[in-house]
C-alpha cells in the first residue's frame, strides 16, 4: 500500500504543520451553525450495512444514521442540514484536517497512530467491531474452544491471522490455519468445505452468510468475540466542545434504548417523563443542551427523527435488514453486552 | 520614390564560425530579372533566403523596398508581405486544396474578403494554366502542376518581388518547361525576379543580369550576353564548361 503510506505521511505532515492553528473549543459547532449544514463522510461506493445507497441514491446505513443523529442534534432535523460527501478510505484524514468534513463517521477504528500522530480526537466508541468465527451448524460449535483440532480458512497477512493465533493460545485450543491470498478464494474454500471455520468482522460474516452462502441457515456465527476493534467518530484535535457533542449524541441513543424510549413513544415520554434524567434528556426540564451549545430538546429531536440505538441497529444491520446481525457484544450491558450510556446528572 | 527594389551592402553571414556569405554587395532595381547561379554550396540559396529573412545575416545591411531588415518583427512581416518566394520542393500546404492554398495568406495577411481572395486566386490559377485543379489537393497533382500552383500562391499576395529558389530542380525533365514558361511570362509582365537556377537557357533569354557565386562570394556579375560568351572569371568559365557540357 504505497499510496496509503504516502497519504498517512502527508496526513502526519499536515497535522504537524497545522497544529495550533487547528480547532479550538466550539469552533466546529460555530462553523457548522453558520454554514447551516453538517458535512459528514459518505463512501465512494458502498460499505454494506454501514454506508450504502438505496435504489434512489439515498444514503443509508449505520454510519449514515449517526451522521443524521449528529445533524439532528444541532439543527433539530437533518433534512437539508446534512451533506454527506462521498469519501474514500484514504481520503478520511486529509478531509477532516482540511475542514472539508466536520466528522469522520466511517467504520473507523480508534488507534494510537490516528489519535496522536495524525492529530485526531475520537468520540466514545459507538460500535465494537467484533471479530468472530463462523462455522457450519452441523459442527455444533458453540464457542471457539469447540473448534479445537479443526481448521480455519483465512486471508494471509491480515490482522485476523494474528487474532486467531493469540486467541487460540490464550484460550487453550488448537486450530490449523489454511491461508489464502484473496478473500474470494478464502470464501470459496470455506463454502467447498475445505475448512471448519472462517474468521471475520461479524458484520462481514453476516453479509457473507445472508447474501453469498447458498443455505444461510446451515451456518452460524459463534458469538464469543475473538478480538474487537472499537469504531468511533473521528474529529479534529482540540475542539473539546465538538467531542462533547459527539459523545452525548451517541449517549442519547444508548440511553434511550436503556430507558425504553423509541421514536414511537418519545412524545409520550417527554410529556410524562418517568425519571428526572429522562425529563432532562428529552428537554422537558432545561439544562441538557445549553451546556453543549445546543437546544435543550436535542435529545428529544434525535430520538424522534432517528430513533434509539436499537432502532438504528435493527434497521441497518440487524433483524430489520437482510444481514440479520445479532447485537452480540454491542448489546446493552444489562443484556450481556458492553454498551452503556453516560450519566446525566 | 526610388526604383531600387533590393539593396544589399557588405553583408556577411555565418553558421557559427563558418562563413557562408562573404561581403555581398548587390543592388536590384524594380522590374529587373536577376539569375543567380553557381555550384552547390556556393551560398546562392542562402543569399536569397536572407532577402525575406528565412535566414538572418550577421553583418552589413539589407534594404528591401526601402525597409531595412533587422530583428524587428514588424519590418520582417512588412517585407515578407511584398516579397514572394517559390521553393525547390513547392511546399504547398497538403491539408488545403489548391484554391485554399492560394487564398489563405491573402485573407489572413492582406485581409481580403473570401470572395475577393478567391477571385484573385482563380485569376492567377488561370494564368498558370491550372484553373481546373482549384479544388484538388496538392497530393493529387504532378510536380510541375504543384510548382505552378506554388507560383500562383505567391502571386496571390500581389508581391513586388518574387524570389525563386531552384524552382525546377526537383522536377522531372518533362515538367521543367511548363514551369519555365510561366516564369518567362511573369518576366515579360515586368515582375522583379531573383532566380536561383541552373537553367542557363532561361537565364540567357530572360535575365537582365547573371550573377555567379562561389564559396559564398559573388564572383562575377554580368549581362547574360557577356556572361555566357565571354566570362571574366576563371571559376565562371569552369562552371559554365561543366554545366553546358551535357
Amino acid at each position: 500500500m504505497k499510496l496509503n503510506t504516502y497519504l498517512s505521511l502527508a496526513a502526519i505532515a499536515i497535522a504537524a504543520t497545522a497544529t495550533g492553528a487547528l480547532a479550538e473549543s466550539g469552533a466546529t459547532l460555530k462553523t457548522v451553525k453558520e454554514r447551516g449544514k453538517l458535512i459528514c463522510t459518505g463512501h465512494n461506493g458502498s460499505y454494506p450495512g454501514m454506508t450504502e445507497l438505496d435504489d434512489r441514491g439515498n444514503w443509508a446505513g449505520f454510519d449514515v444514521d449517526l451522521c443524521r443523529a449528529l445533524a439532528t442534534a444541532i439543527f433539530g432535523t437533518h433534512e437539508s442540514h446534512l451533506d454527506i460527501v462521498p469519501t474514500s478510505w484514504a481520503q478520511r484524514w486529509p478531509s477532516i484536517q482540511s475542514g472539508e468534513v466536520d466528522a469522520v463517521i466511517k467504520s473507523t477504528g480508534w488507534t494510537l497512530n490516528r489519535d496522536t500522530e495524525i492529530g485526531l480526537q475520537f468520540s466514545r466508541p459507538y460500535m465494537l467491531g467484533s471479530v468472530n468465527y463462523m462455522a457450519p451448524v452441523e459442527l455444533g460449535a458453540k464457542t471457539p474452544q469447540d473448534l479445537d483440532g479443526g481448521t480455519l480458512c483465512l486471508q494471509s497477512g491480515t490482522t485476523y491471522e494474528r487474532y486467531a493465533v493469540s486467541h487460540a493460545a490464550s484460550m487453550g485450543y488448537e486450530i490449523g490455519m489454511v491461508p489464502f491470498e484473496k478473500t474470494e478464494e478464502m470464501k470459496a474454500a470455506f463454502m467447498a468445505g475445505r475448512c471448519d471455520a472462517i474468521l471475520e468482522w461479524d458484520l462481514q460474516l453476516a453479509v457473507f452468510k445472508a447474501l453469498e452462502l447458498p443455505n444461510p441457515d446451515d451456518y452460524a456465527i459463534i458469538p464469543a468475540p475473538v478480538a474487537a476493534e472499537p469504531l468511533a467518530i473521528a474529529m479534529r484535535q482540540g475542539d473539546d466542545n465538538w467531542v462533547d457533542i459527539a459523545n452525548w449524541t451517541l449517549s442519547v441513543l444508548v440511553a434511550a434504548e436503556e430507558y425504553g424510549i423509541t421514536s414511537a413513544n418519545v412524545d409520550e415520554m417527554k410529556a410524562n417523563p418517568p425519571t428526572p434524567e429522562v425529563a432532562k434528556m428529552l428537554g422537558a426540564t432545561p439544562g441538557f443542551g445549553t451546556v453543549l451549545g445546543l437546544e435543550d430538546d436535542f435529545g428529544y429531536n434525535i430520538i424522534k427523527v432517528i430513533g434509539n440505538y436499537a432502532e438504528i441497529w435493527d434497521r441497518n444491520v440487524g433483524e430489520g435488514s437482510v444481514y440479520k446481525l445479532p447485537r452480540g457484544v454491542n448489546a446493552l450491558l444489562r443484556d450481556g453486552g458492553i454498551n452503556y450510556p453516560l450519566v446525566i446528572d | 520614390m526610388t526604383d531600387t527594389a533590393i539593396q544589399i551592402r557588405r553583408m556577411n553571414k555565418f553558421y557559427g564560425s563558418f562563413q557562408v556569405l562573404r561581403d555581398i554587395n548587390l543592388t536590384v532595381r524594380k522590374g529587373e530579372r536577376i539569375v543567380i547561379c553557381g555550384p552547390s554550396g556556393s551560398g546562392k540559396s542562402t543569399l536569397i533566403r536572407c532577402i525575406n529573412r528565412l535566414e538572418d545575416h550577421q553583418d552589413g545591411s539589407i534594404n528591401v523596398l526601402g525597409t531595412e531588415l533587422n530583428e524587428d518583427v514588424g519590418s520582417i512581416d512588412l517585407i515578407r508581405r511584398e516579397v514572394g518566394m517559390v521553393f525547390q520542393h513547392f511546399n504547398l500546404f497538403p491539408h488545403l486544396t489548391v484554391l485554399e492554398n492560394c487564398t489563405l495568406a491573402p485573407m489572413l495577411v492582406r485581409r481580403f474578403s473570401r470572395a475577393e481572395a478567391e477571385r484573385v486566386a482563380r485569376e492567377y490559377l488561370e494564368r498558370v494554366r491550372i484553373p481546373e485543379k482549384a479544388d484538388a489537393f496538392p497530393s493529387e497533382l504532378s510536380g510541375g502542376q504543384q510548382q505552378r500552383v506554388a507560383i500562383a500562391r505567391a502571386l496571390c499576395m500581389r508581391p513586388e518581388i518574387l524570389l525563386f529558389d531552384e524552382p525546377t530542380s526537383a522536377l522531372d525533365p518533362e515538367m521543367i518547361n511548363e514551369v519555365l514558361d510561366v516564369m518567362r511570362e511573369l518576366a515579360m509582365d515586368g515582375m522583379t525576379m531573383v532566380c536561383v537556377t541552373h537553367e542557363m537557357g532561361f537565364a540567357r533569354q530572360v535575365a537582365d543580369r547573371v550573377i555567379f557565386m562561389s564559396n559564398g562570394e559573388i564572383v562575377e556579375e554580368n549581362t547574360p550576353e557577356a556572361f555566357f560568351t565571354n566570362p571574366r572569371n576563371e571559376r565562371t568559365r569552369g562552371f559554365l564548361a561543366k554545366i553546358l557540357a551535357h
Binding site: L3, A10, N44, S46, R56, D83, S88 | N91, P94
Partner: protein
C-alpha cells in the same frame, strides 16, 4: 505444420479456408477441437447472459435471481439510475440526464466537419458546458443547487473526461509550442513542466490536487475539489499529449513553416493554420489512444472520493439485496465504457480515412 512453399489455391474463399485449417489430419483435429471449445464457451456464455438470465424483478428485489442459474440483469433494472447518476438527488435526476445528453451531443457534433474550426469548437463547448452547469449544478432559473459533491455516476465520469480534455488539450498545445521555442527560458519551463509531471504517478497528482492543495493555497484560490482535481488531471493529460503533438509537429517538413513565413503569415497564423492542422493529423492515432487512456483513468478519481461510474457501480451491488450480482453490474459498466471507447476509435478510423485525401 503447414508447408509455406506450397502455393495457396486462390479460386475460392472456401478453398483457402480448407487449405489453412484442414490440410492434415492434425490440422483437422486442432480445428475441430478449437471449434468445439469456442462453441462450448459461447454456449455457456449465451446461456448465462441470455437464456437463463433473469431480466426483471417485479418488486425490485433480488429474490427471482436467487434461484436462477443465469445472469441477474434485474440488478440493472433496479439500480440503473444509481449507476448513471450516483448520489444526484433522485427527484432531480432528469437534470443530470439532460446535462449528460448535452455533453454527449456536443461530443457528437464536435466530430462533424461542420464544427472543425477553433472558434466553432470553442462556442460549441462553451454552450455545452453552460448547459451542463445550468442543469447539473442548478442554482439558476429556479433549479435547486446541486453541488459537485452530489454529482455521480456516468454523468460525473463524462463531465470529468470532457473537462479534462477541454482544459488539457489547449494546454498541451501551449506546452508543445513552448517546448520548441527558440527562447531558452520558455523552452526550459516547458521541459521542466512536462518532465516533472510525467515523473509523477497520476494518483499522486490527484491526491495532491484534492487533499494537499487546500493546505497550501489561500482560501479564495481553492475552489471546489472537483475543479482542483480537473486542473491537476488536465495538467497530467497535457504533459503526455504535448509530447504526442510535438512528435506530430516534428514530422512536418521544415518547408511548411518557411512557406507560411514567406507568405507573410505571422506566428499565430502559421501555427493555427499550417502547423497544428498537420500536426494533429500526424498525431491522430496516438491522440485517440491518449483519449481512450484518459477516459479509463478517470476511474481513478474514485479514490479521492468522487462518485464516478466505478463508484456508483460499487454502490449498485454494495447492498445486502444485490451484493451477489457484482459480475452483472461490472458487465454493464464495461458495456458503457465500451460504447464510448468504441465510438472514439471508430471516429479515429473515420478521421484517418478522411484526412488521408489531403496528406502529402
Amino acid at each position: 505444420m503447414t508447408d509455406m512453399t506450397h502455393p495457396i489455391p486462390r479460386n475460392s474463399r472456401l478453398e483457402q479456408l480448407r487449405h489453412r485449417f484442414l490440410r492434415t489430419p492434425l490440422d483437422i483435429a486442432v480445428t475441430a477441437a478449437s471449434l468445439l471449445l469456442a462453441l462450448f464457451v459461447g454456449w455457456k456464455l449465451l446461456d448465462w447472459a441470455v437464456l437463463s438470465a433473469v431480466w426483471t424483478s417485479p418488486d425490485g428485489l433480488s429474490q427471482p435471481c436467487r434461484d436462477a442459474s443465469g445472469a441477474c440483469w434485474a440488478v440493472i433494472e433496479a439500480r440503473w439510475r444509481l449507476i448513471l447518476f450516483g448520489v444526484f438527488p433522485y427527484a432531480e435526476q432528469w437534470r443530470a440526464a439532460v446535462a449528460t445528453a448535452a455533453l454527449i451531443l456536443a461530443g457528437g457534433l464536435s466530430c462533424l466537419p461542420l464544427f472543425w474550426s477553433v472558434i466553432r469548437q470553442a462556442l460549441l463547448w462553451i454552450a455545452a458546458f453552460a448547459l451542463f452547469m445550468v442543469f447539473m449544478h442548478g442554482g439558476v432559473f429556479g433549479l435547486s443547487s446541486v453541488p459537485p459533491a452530489q454529482w455521480g455516476g456516468l454523468a460525473l465520469t463524462l463531465f470529468f473526461f470532457v473537462a479534462v480534455v477541454i482544459v488539457g488539450m489547449p494546454l498541451s498545445i501551449c506546452l508543445a509550442l513552448m517546448r520548441r521555442s527558440d527562447l531558452p527560458v520558455i523552452r526550459g519551463t516547458a521541459i521542466i513542466l512536462i518532465d516533472g509531471v510525467r515523473a509523477l504517478p497520476l494518483v499522486t497528482i490527484l491526491f495532491t490536487a484534492a487533499l494537499i492543495l487546500p493546505f497550501v493555497l489561500p482560501g479564495w484560490l481553492q475552489g471546489d475539489k472537483i475543479w482542483r482535481v480537473i486542473a491537476g488531471f488536465a495538467l497530467f493529460f497535457a504533459a503526455y499529449q504535448a509530447e504526442v503533438l510535438r512528435s506530430g509537429i516534428q514530422a512536418l517538413p521544415r518547408g511548411q513553416e518557411e512557406a507560411a513565413k514567406a507568405l507573410g503569415m505571422g506566428y499565430f497564423h502559421r501555427i493555427t493554420r499550417v502547423v497544428l492542422p498537420q500536426a494533429f493529423r500526424n498525431a491522430l492515432p496516438p491522440t485517440i489512444n491518449q483519449l481512450v487512456i484518459t477516459l479509463m483513468e478517470t476511474s481513478l478519481i474514485v479514490i479521492i472520493g468522487f462518485f464516478d461510474l466505478m463508484a456508483s457501480g460499487n454502490a449498485a451491488y454494495g447492498t445486502g439485496e444485490w451484493s451477489f450480482a457484482y459480475v452483472e453490474v461490472y458487465a454493464f459498466i464495461a458495456l458503457i465504457y465500451g460504447v464510448f471507447v468504441f465510438s472514439l476509435s471508430r471516429y479515429g478510423r473515420y478521421l484517418e480515412r478522411r484526412l488521408r485525401v489531403g496528406s502529402s
